[in-house]
Point group: D2
């Protein structure tokens, strides 16, 4: 990917205030693959003290969406049409890592997946998988 | 539902720090149906300025989960096994309203749905539907 | 709906050889709602002798797709982009009934649901719910 | 896997009359991975003449379910709790190949995926991906 294409993805991410609220950072953008990391903040937990499903979903959805965006021209954005998350284990540890991937790019629909890992003292565990559809829309 | 059963649901909700971060409030709990409302805070938006999918998901998931909990004895909690969201329209307006419902209660698995509405100057629009599975676990 | 619009839906259904193989019949078509019924044939079972998940899925998917089609002009068809099924109970009895509905029509995407019931000696039980996305395409 | 464990999976598959109706064959069973193939029979098509979504779903669901079963003791069976399919391309060609995999085994829930390919004159195309949950139950 050229630098302009990468930059505009970082800019779009920076415009998602939800990501800032969750402390999420986009840490890698390559063609078809995007990595987002977020701490499990005190304010992002469920009733047992683990990370909330909404945290895993939010960064998984964003990673998947931006992975789709790497496959699109600069005059297109994406919105999520639908996405499903299966939760495999509690979000336990210090931070979460979401890796979004494009399975099938397309001008009309883009099928994506994301894997979410919890990092607990350096040990990574797969805690959620997502599968969904992004829709390209004009900027 | 008796008051003890209702109270423990409000207490569990109060222990979800993610809900406080999003400004979400549980506003109604009846047998099999739970209503959660949240403002679309400046810090809960996507890149176009609408509510983030993660906001709709978070309150939809919690409403569905607590709806499941209304069908369970007091020594059980629930965790989300999986849930899918279809986004129908942008989360535009002042607040979101999630209504979670039990479709099929069960001691092993509980199938749930949630509808999420956006309220824009008093006009409510259905913006997302969720369908998922909650798993009862001992407290 | 006018008769031409209804007729073309029955014709499209008749062209789905999978429906004939499963013995499925379209029994009602109204604006936004389609009903399909199928016997639980000896050749449509899983290993325990109940109807196969693929049977419930097939008629649920077709009912949802044709419900979407009722909302579209005559020069459009639909294809399934994605659909999720939650199975609530075994497909036990003599026949299955799928009722597909449009939740959100659209020229680009159409969000749909379907409920599948098993009829056992006249007693109907909800055995599956589906939630998905149909994509309009030119005929 | 020992031969007894493999044999009982082939026997369970042979008891699914739906698989025989679709002409499906289980062609490989290893720990955590199962491969099922099916011709696109004249009687398994949608209205445009491609394989029906119900065909892709049926063999994908069975491949995923039997992949789950490879991780379970001999006194357990599995049933599908829920599964979602994203369709990527038309089921065009002579046969479909479904490869089911275990993502997270478990005595209570087993999370699985499946990839479905269409083979057209020897050229294989990924046409569908599935993500779901299997529930172990006593035989």
């Amino acid at each position: 990917m050229d630098q302009i294409a990468v930059d505009r993805i970082y800019q779009s991410f920076a415009a998602q205030s939800m990501m800032a609220t969750l402390g999420a950072k986009m840490v890698d953008v390559t063609s078809g693959v995007v990595r987002i990391e977020a701490p499990i903040l005190p304010g992002a937990r469920q009733q047992q003290g683990f990370g909330h499903a909404g945290l895993s979903f939010s960064i998984g959805d964003s990673a998947a969406g931006y992975a789709a965006l790497t496959s699109l021209p600069l005059d297109m954005e994406v919105v999520t049409a639908e996405i499903k998350i299966n939760l495999l284990a509690p979000a336990r540890g210090q931070k979460l890592i979401a890796i979004g991937k494009v399975v099938k790019p397309g001008k009309r629909l883009c099928v994506v997946t994301a894997d979410v890992f919890a990092s607990d003292n350096g040990q990574e565990t797969l805690i959620a998988i997502l599968q969904g559809t992004m829709v390209p829309v004009p900027v």
